[in-house]
């Protein structure tokens, strides 16, 4: 068994995993061109999604991260930071949508290992009719959280309010915006959140914590070249060709991205004295696949801080890994 995991085979397995994920992402975006069919990928693909966390809106960039190394001797090293959801459909004229979620956050490559998994339910309220330029998207999660490192079990409920601003010109929130003739794509996602975490009795942690949270993620990307299409007009009986810019969302090439989360345990009877916690993540992504529904990228980022619900202890580290979101 150990002989199988040579360097050559690990490279092949990594390429296969990358190809599978990239192929899945592209299949999810595939359209049928014939006029008799709907322009949608197979229904199986539409109801599933993968990202780092489901506490924030689907429109926010939050790719899942994967890496695995299996040495010939010694312990395996894991980096899995993401989750999968399956949609349960829309409710109340599509104002609400709900899904089952599962997340796993395991990282043995850092000083204080992380091993945490979660199962639960998520519900999201979309923009109501009749609202102004600014809207608020509500996302509620309730989930069971198991922290293997601390042998802790808890029930967590979160309520996230993300801000959305609809304007062709000016600053956009919660949606992509474009700068300098679409040479750049930016996205700002501010949100506030309330978290309630109740530990079960008999574990290392006991009691409950309430945390208000402020979250800001921002990104700016350099896009690939714009596309043009040829149009033919008839002017005074003469056919004249002209190039027209194709109206299509630009494809990202490189991206600078950051996210900052600040929390405070306003109510804490666990005895852990959690107080203020923060998590800052900043880095660069290179995109192999980039559509509005799917991204596959290589990312390098610097992380400092902690994430109590996801079992990440206070520390700082660099991380380079494959990132996927669809």
């Amino acid at each position: 068994m150990l002989n199988f995991f040579t360097m050559k085979n690990m490279v092949i397995m990594t390429m296969l995993l990358f190809s599978t994920l990239a192929g899945y992402s592209m299949q999810r975006d595939s359209i049928k061109k014939d006029s008799t069919s709907k322009s949608s990928a197979h229904p199986f693909f539409r109801n599933w999604s993968v990202k780092q966390t489901f506490q924030t809106p689907d429109g926010q960039q939050s790719p899942a991260t994967f890496a695995l190394s299996i040495p010939a001797s010694g312990k395996n090293n894991w980096l899995v930071d993401g989750g999968i959801s399956v949609s349960l459909g829309k409710l109340d004229n599509a104002i609400w949508t709900s899904k089952l979620i599962g997340e796993i956050h395991r990282n043995t490559l850092i000083d204080s290992a992380q091993y945490n998994y979660q199962l639960g339910y998520s519900i999201e309220k979309f923009k109501d009719k009749g609202e102004g330029n600014y809207s608020v998207i509500w996302i509620g999660n309730i989930k069971y959280v198991r922290d293997v490192i601390d042998t802790g079990n808890s029930i967590v409920t979160t309520l996230n309010f993300s801000f959305y601003r609809e304007k062709r010109h000016g600053f956009n929130l919660g949606r992509p915006g474009y700068l300098h003739d679409q040479v750049y794509t930016y996205q700002l996602n501010p949100s506030v959140e309330a978290q309630y975490q109740q530990y079960f009795g008999g574990d290392k942690h006991k009691g409950a914590i309430v945390r208000p949270v402020f979250n800001l993620s921002a990104a700016i990307a350099v896009n690939k070249k714009r596309e043009y299409v040829e149009k033919t007009d008839t002017v005074n009986g003469v056919r004249v060709k002209r190039l027209v810019r194709k109206v299509i969302a630009p494809t990202k090439a490189w991206e600078l991205a950051m996210s900052y989360v600040n929390r405070y345990a306003v109510l804490d009877n666990t005895g852990d004295k959690e107080g203020y916690t923060k998590l800052l993540r900043a880095g660069v992504n290179y995109y192999f696949v980039n559509t509005n529904k799917s991204t596959v990228s290589l990312g390098g980022n610097y992380n400092i801080g902690s994430d109590p619900i996801n079992g990440l202890k206070e520390q700082h580290y660099w991380q380079f890994a494959l990132q996927v979101q669809f």
Binding site: G59, A94, T97, K127, Y178, V244, V247, K293
Partner: protein
């Protein structure tokens, strides 16, 4: 009919935030291709709902009538079908 098609395309273009004019907006492009997420689809549904109501009383477009998988042609056909 051509006017309705151009009006719908113009609304799609405005909400997408993309540069260009409706000449460059392909009928085969999906809303996802134009950068739409679910919230933007609901914004589009709201704008088209106001549009069809202004053209013909008793018509409406619901929040779940517009999805990211739909093409520009399908959105135009939806509106034209309501106003026919």
């Amino acid at each position: 009919m051509a006017t309705i098609k151009n009006d719908v395309k113009q609304i799609i273009l405005e909400i997408s935030g993309l540069d260009g004019d409706i000449d460059g907006l392909s009928d085969d492009s999906t809303l996802s291709d134009l950068g739409f997420n679910d919230t933007m689809c609901r914004e589009l549904a709201q704008r088209l709902d106001a549009y069809v109501k202004s053209k013909k009383l008793g018509t409406s477009i619901g929040s779940d009538d517009i999805t990211t998988d739909m093409t520009v042609a399908e959105v135009v056909a939806l509106v034209i079908g309501l106003l026919a």
